[in-house]
Amino acid sequence: MRALAIVIFAAVSCFSAVNMLISVIGPESNFTDISAVESGYSSLRSYLPEKGVIGYEQAGGKIDTREYYIAQYALCPLVLDVNECHNYAIKSDRGEISVIKYTGVK
């Protein structure tokens, strides 16, 4: 009985591991392709200062947190500020990103 319990425990655990593998190799995936997003930002890098704080805006005014976090990750050590106006800002409009240069910002 106890030997059977041991074998059953091992077999069920093994089955769980197989289930996990099946779930991770399945075709459906909702992960963001960060490498692709990064390559978009790298093309803008030459228009931005090397360091310091710049603005970050999204079309419609509402910030998509995931997009903002990925932008910050891509542009380190620049700091992206969503609250205040700065000389430079990144603008994201449904996946299209651009650099805006403001003048007269203190």
Binding site: A10, C14, L21, V24, I70, Y73
Partner: protein, 479 residues
Amino acid sequence: MTVSLVVSFMVAFAMGYLAVRAIWPEDSRNVRPGIIVLRVCLSFGLGMGLSSCLYFFWLESGAYRFGFIPYIAVELLVLFGLHVIGAHKAGKTQEHVMKTAGVCHSFRLVRIVVFVLFIVALVISAASFLSLSSDIPHGEWDAYSIWNQHARFMFRDPASWKEMFNDTLKWSHPDYPLLLPASVARSWQYIGSEATFAAQAIAFFFVFALAAVAISTVSLLKGQIQGMLCGFAFFSSAYLVQYAAMQYADIPLAFFLTASVSLYLLYCDSRDKVGLLVLAGLMASLAAWTKNEGVIFFLLFSMLVFLFERNRVPADKSRAPFKYFLAGVLPVVITLIFFKTTCALNNDVVTAMVSDPAGAVSRFTDLQRHFFVLKSLANSSYFGGNIGKYGLLIYLAVVGISVSATQRKGLRLVLILYGCMAAAYYLVFITTSSSLEWLIACSMNRVFAQLLPILIVTFFIAARSADEMLSVRMDKGDK
């Protein structure tokens, strides 16, 4: 590039290995697979921890201005110093041979079946990790918004790495300790570029070292089959592999929590081998250097070790075990205090509680919040795989509980510690000023991932040893 990464890991590993050897000297009479695996895994974790501290000081002191070569020279110097200390101690130490459960050479079929399934589960888990990790080379949410982002600040511009503490980036928890980001940034420095596989490799090593520490501890205390059963519990728990592939710091944290607890359990069983207690302290302090939850663990663990060890008279009657524990924690605690006082001044949870104590009290007295948290706890499957919590209970009912007097003492500390940790997390959930639904949704499973490994080790040390059961069956059959 790959060679540089291997070199960076080898240097960190050597640092950890020599530190483990200096603290817990090798004994040629006590060379067994469980001990070798345990030493290797502890060396990896300790190496990552110590090298991340050195890397932090390299940045903080401004020594990065002289380039990376002097840093490598310092690491080599540390290696040499640890080697000298280890060689000096090796000549002096005569250790007790660590007791282990008897190994049954019979009941071959069950042993073979369990071993084959163990290898299958191990390979499948590794394949799951590699598959998921290749889909998300930068990791998931926490990885790119916290850990790898901090690593980028450190690597991309050492002169302005402190920009990560800018108030604008409060959401990225700049007060979180630096073990993981500094380890990733250090590997990138060796490679010379931001290769995503450095962070992936660190995540891979941590999750499998975590399983190996638990398996080897249970093997040493309860026998090899029991150790493999413990391994099954790890490989069937999807959370652990998923969070590792997502590059979350919860897995390195779980490694250090499990290593501390495992070392204490081995210490209790080893007739006052104080080196194990020093290592347990060191691992607990590295937990605090990994995540803020590790600070809670470290404080509780230190307090409990003090309470359990203060009246204990060791075999040689001259040693005070808690002093050894303190000696282990000191280097990393100094680093952590330095970091917390000079770089990361504010923690969002503490700040919210201090700034609005009345709000925290009113949330604590809100029974609906308690009901919601308890219901979420009950609904969560803390075991992950198909066995589930009820399967575990049925298994325990079939095999029964069997612990020795020395194991009982260690398990008592671990269970109290586990209860206190769960209570501390519960308190944070109840009193948080953030949305409770949001906090539960994004952190409940990760809290389980941190604490589950300790529970698995405790479970398999408390459960009657599979090796022992099979021995009994063999004896009965012989008669």
